[in-house]
Amino acid sequence: MDGIHDMGGTQGWGTVELDPDDPVFANDWEGRAFALGAMAGGLSGTNLDAFRHGLERLHPLTYLQDGYYGRWLACAELLLVDSGVLAQGAVDARARRLMGEDVEEPAQPEVNKPEYERGGGGSLRDIDDPPKFEVGDSVRARDVHVGGHTRMPAYIRGRAGTISAIRPAAVLPDATAHFTGEEPQHVYTVSFESTELWGAEAEPTTLNIDLFETYMEKR
C-alpha cells in the first residue's frame, strides 16, 4: 500500500541526528512494548509480514507521533483485536481504569485467528522452479499499485535495473500478510543507478534492493 511507511526518497524530514550512545530502550515502557510487539504475532496467530502490514495500517499521525515502540504497541493491539484476542477498545478502557477513571471494560469477543497453511518456520523456503532471471539480466520493476502489503517501495516502480544476485527463495509478504498462503518466490538483489531513480542531476551512486520475482519483468 502507498502509506506513510514507504519513506524512500520522500522529502522534508530534516537532518539525521546520530547519537552513538543511544540506549536500546530510552524508557522502561519501550522495552515492554517491544516484547509485547514481538509476541503479538504468535498471540494473534498472525506472522511477521502481518505485523509489518499492521504498522503500515496505523493512521499516519499515529505512525509518526507514537514513535518507534509506541508504533509497535499500537500494532500489537491492532493484531490482537483483529484476531479477537482482545476487544476493540479493551486497551483504552484498561488504561483509563489504571488512570483512575471509572470506565467499563468491553466484553471479551470470540477468538478468531486467521487460518492458513505455513510451510515451515521463518521466511526462507526451497522451491523447485528455477529462477526466471539470471545475474546480469536487465529488468524493470512493475508499475503496480497494490492496496495491501508489498515489499516493493514506490520509488522503484517502473524503474529499470540489473539483477546483481540471486538470494534464497522466501515466502511472498504480499500473500502471507493477508493469510492467503505463502506463494514462495525467488528473491533477487537488483541494482539501480541513482540517475534512473532520481533524475539526470542525481549524484552517481548505486542502489541495491531485494525484490521478489513477480515484482519485475524482463526488458
Binding site: V16, V24, A35, L43, L98, Y155, R167, E203, T205, D210
Partner: protein, 198 residues
C-alpha cells in the same frame, strides 16, 4: 473527511494496560517479557558483530568463509536467530563504500547488532539515504572522497546486510579483542569508519 486519531492515554499506561490484559488471561508472563528485554539489552548487540569483524580482520580463512556464506560464518561464533535468517556480508574499502537502510520499516541484523538505534529508524535516514547518500553520510560525520563509489542497500526482503568495515592503519599489533573494541555499530551499518586508537 479524514479522521484524526483521538487523544489516547499515554503510551506507558497503554503498555501497562496491554500487558495486564494479556497476563490476566494467562497469555503472557512478566518473566517472559523481562527475559526478552534482558536478551536485547545485555546479550545481543553490536559487540557480537564487532567479534565477527575482528575475526575477519585477523583470520583470512574466516574472512573467506564469511564473504562466501555470512549466515554459516557468523553461526560459527554462535550468532543466529530472528532477523538473521540469511546474512550477507559486504566489504568496505578505500574505493567502495556500502551503507544499509530499510526504507519500508526497520529491518536490521538482530543477531549481530541487536535492535536498531534511533537514527536508523528515523524518517530522515530512511527517506534520504537512498536519494542523497553522500550528503547524509557527511551530515553524520563521514566525509567520503568524490572518487569513492557509494552503494546503498535497501533491505526490503529477509536478507540482512552486514558491513565489514576497513581495518584502520596503525592496528597491526592489536589482538582480536582489542580490535573488536574499536568497531562501532555505525561502522557495521556503513555510516562511519573504524578508527585506530588515538
Amino acid at each position: 473527511m479524514t479522521a484524526i486519531p483521538q487523544k489516547r492515554p499515554p503510551a506507558p499506561i497503554r503498555t501497562e494496560a496491554l500487558e495486564a490484559l494479556l497476563t490476566d488471561r494467562g497469555l503472557v508472563t512478566a518473566e517472559a517479557i523481562d527475559g526478552l528485554i534482558n536478551r536485547f539489552v545485555n546479550d545481543v548487540g553490536p559487540m557480537n558483530g564487532a567479534k565477527v569483524v575482528a575475526k575477519a580482520w585477523t583470520d583470512p580463512e574466516y574472512k573467506a568463509r564469511l564473504m562466501a556464506d555470512g549466515t554459516a560464518a557468523v553461526g560459527e561464533l554462535g550468532f543466529a536467530g530472528p532477523q538473521g535468517e540469511h546474512i550477507v556480508v559486504v566489504e568496505n574499502d578505500e574505493k567502495a563504500h556500502n551503507v544499509v537502510v530499510c526504507t519500508l520499516c526497520s529491518c536490521y541484523p538482530w543477531p549481530l547488532l541487536g535492535l536498531p538505534p534511533n537514527w536508523y529508524k528515523d524518517p530522515a535516514y530512511r527517506s534520504r539515504i537512498v536519494r542523497e547518500p553522500r550528503a547524509v553520510l557527511a551530515e553524520m560525520g563521514l566525509e567520503l572522497d568524490q572518487d569513492v563509489a557509494i552503494t546503498v542497500w535497501d533491505s526490503s526482503a529477509e536478507n540482512r546486510y552486514f558491513i565489514l568495515p576497513q581495518r584502520p592503519d596503525g592496528t597491526d599489533g592489536l589482538g582480536e579483542d582489542e580490535l573488536a573494541a574499536l568497531v562501532t555499530r555505525e561502522a557495521m551499518v556503513g555510516v562511519a569508519k573504524v578508527h585506530a586508537p588515538a
